[in-house]
């Protein structure tokens, strides 16, 4: 596997009720990196992920994944929806949910194999949730629910992981664990694309950053992206955020976490 480009979007426009929420977005994201998609609320981050996964209609443009159409590489792509997008009171156990990562179109009617179960257990182990296998999902904390979603995605055994706001509503320990896991995945040659809206941590977590505000503001290695002009363009008009941006730029050295 020596793909150079994980995701290429070309002239991508998506509208809801004729109002564009993504406008002419164009970028190429390198494979094998941890990539952050950053932008204020309502800037179209979720919509971008859905457009990539073909979950919303594109008004124009196209997306290529590993230089192919989604349908041809679906096995290699895994999507982690926003945690709030499902009903966590659903009568299902942690294992039930993680096993979904092993469902495939052409063997949906067949039993899952021992290998499928092992992969699911392994994925739970990676997020430190194996001991919760039989727990009903409604009894989990926000951070644990997020780990279950990530485990389900890991169980797919994909090469590209696309995660929507995995850091929202999780405890500090989970945030740390997810961050370390992303680094681990990178070492294994995986590509991780993460929607995130906290600028403070963005520079720590990601190698490559996409700044989005309906239009593409910038896409590049993080050192090129963290300059005032670009951040203001992405977050412009949001006063409280703007002041934060100022502080962020002033802090020349970001505190690096000790391992």
């Amino acid at each position: 596997m020596n793909d150079k480009t994980a995701i290429e979007a070309h002239n991508l426009t998506v509208s809801y009720n004729r109002r564009p929420v993504l406008w002419n977005v164009d970028f190429e994201l390198p494979a094998g990196q941890v990539i952050g998609i950053i932008g204020p609320n309502g800037s179209g981050k979720t919509t971008l992920l859905k457009a990539i996964m073909d979950l919303v209609k594109k008004s124009s443009g196209y997306v290529k994944l590993f230089e192919q159409d989604l349908e041809e590489v679906r096995e290699r792509i895994s999507y982690v929806p926003q945690r709030e997008s499902v009903d966590w009171d659903f009568p299902a156990s942690v294992m039930d949910v993680v096993l979904m990562g092993r469902y495939r179109k052409n063997k949906l009617l067949k039993r899952l194999s021992k290998a499928d179960r092992d992969l699911a257990a392994e994925a739970l182990e990676k997020v430190n949730m194996l001991e919760y296998s039989n727990r009903q999902i409604s009894q989990l904390s926000g951070g644990q629910q997020q780990r279950v979603f990530i485990a389900r995605s890991l169980a797919q055994g994909a090469d590209l992981y696309i995660m929507d706001e995995p850091f929202v509503g999780v405890d500090a320990a989970t945030e740390e664990a997810i961050m370390l896991l992303m680094q681990e995945m990178k070492k294994e040659g995986k590509t991780v694309v993460v929607v995130h809206h906290d600028l403070q941590t963005a520079k720590l977590y990601f190698d490559w950053i996409v700044l989005l505000n309906t239009r593409l503001v910038a896409s590049g290695p993080k050192d090129q992206i963290f300059n005032e002009a670009l951040l203001q363009e992405a977050y412009g008009g949001k006063l409280n955020v703007l002041s934060k941006v100022g502080e962020l730029i002033k802090e020349k050295d970001f505190p690096v976490r000790e391992k």
Binding site: M53, L55, R74, Y79, D96, Q136, R152
Partner: protein, 288 residues
């Protein structure tokens, strides 16, 4: 013996309805069954006008077509017009029901139709409609055979479709991202609900069908933590409601369908109170 046939047909239908209803409840579409029960009216009237008879089969077909159309319209208003799901259910069935009423009033001269007696059956009459072989052997009530066949179909569907139904009910977007055909699973479920509703009306009447679709699964939902036990308990509550309802009806000498629906509701209430008490108990250690 009559009592046995009534309880048996009630149970068979309660299980078919309840198992499908469990998925409707989890999809927050519990009222779809109610919607279908009203929306099939124009289908029945049209079938009557075209076939010119009160044969059951054309009317069932007319009703089934409208049942499927109902679910398609609901989905259309929900997805395309982006109405809330309860609003799209409400619009669809009141509108179709109204068309049915207009058809009846316009063709009043030709339509000797009373929807209550044509398609909307009465469970008390189950033992009266017997099936005989050509040589005259009594096979038992027709309804029991129909209900058993229906249940077999539904069980087959739910057994083989359990993964597809589970994933599309819990997280449709993820299912789509995996490349699964979510529209297929949606319409397979809605088609089954339509079929079950229409067939069951003819046997046991409308209230009972709607009650069986919602109440036993809602009861089971209160006290289960995963889907499989929820389905088993749904079936169990369906059976208890039929059994208890029959004896209640005999005791008070009242409507059997009404009594079965009432008993289902009483079970719901008891289980709800039970689960409240359990929750209280579970939270005491934390308060201390």
């Amino acid at each position: 013996m009559d009592g046995f046939w009534i309880i048996l047909s009630g149970t068979l239908i309660a299980i078919s309805c309840g198992l499908l209803g469990a998925y409707l409840v989890l999809r927050k579409m519990a009222m779809v069954g109610d919607a279908i029960s009203h929306a099939v009216l124009p289908g029945i009237v049209l079938a009557y006008l075209f076939s010119g008879s009160r044969e059951t089969i054309p009317m069932l077909i007319g009703a089934a077509v409208l049942g499927v159309l109902t679910t398609v319209l609901i989905e259309l208003f929900y997805k395309q017009a982006r109405l809330q799901i309860d609003a799209s259910i409400g619009i669809t069935f009141t509108w179709l029901f109204a068309i049915g009423i207009i058809l009846i009033s316009v063709f009043a001269g030709q339509v000797d139709l009373d929807q209550d007696c044509v398609l909307y059956g009465e469970i008390a009459y189950v033992p009266l409609d017997l099936w005989f072989t050509a040589s005259g052997i009594n096979l038992g009530p027709r309804t029991v055979w129909i209900a058993a066949t229906l249940l077999l179909l539904i069980l087959t569907f739910i057994y083989f479709g359990r993964r597809g139904l589970f994933i599309t009910t819990f997280n449709e977007e993820y299912a789509k991202a995996l490349g699964l055909n979510v529209a297929f699973w949606h319409y397979a479920l809605m088609g089954s609900v339509s079929l079950t509703t229409v067939v069951s009306f003819e046997s046991v009447g409308a209230i009972l069908v709607v009650a069986f679709l919602i109440v036993p699964p809602a009861t089971a939902y209160l006290i289960t933590t995963s889907l499989k036990p929820m389905l088993w308990l749904t079936a169990f509550f369906g059976f208890l409601s039929s059994l208890g309802g029959y004896f209640l009806a005999v005791w008070i000498n009242g409507s059997i369908a009404g009594a079965m629906a009432t008993v289902a509701g009483i079970f719901f209430l008891c289980v709800w109170i039970f689960s409240l008490i359990k929750q209280k108990q579970a939270s005491i250690p934390f308060r201390a």
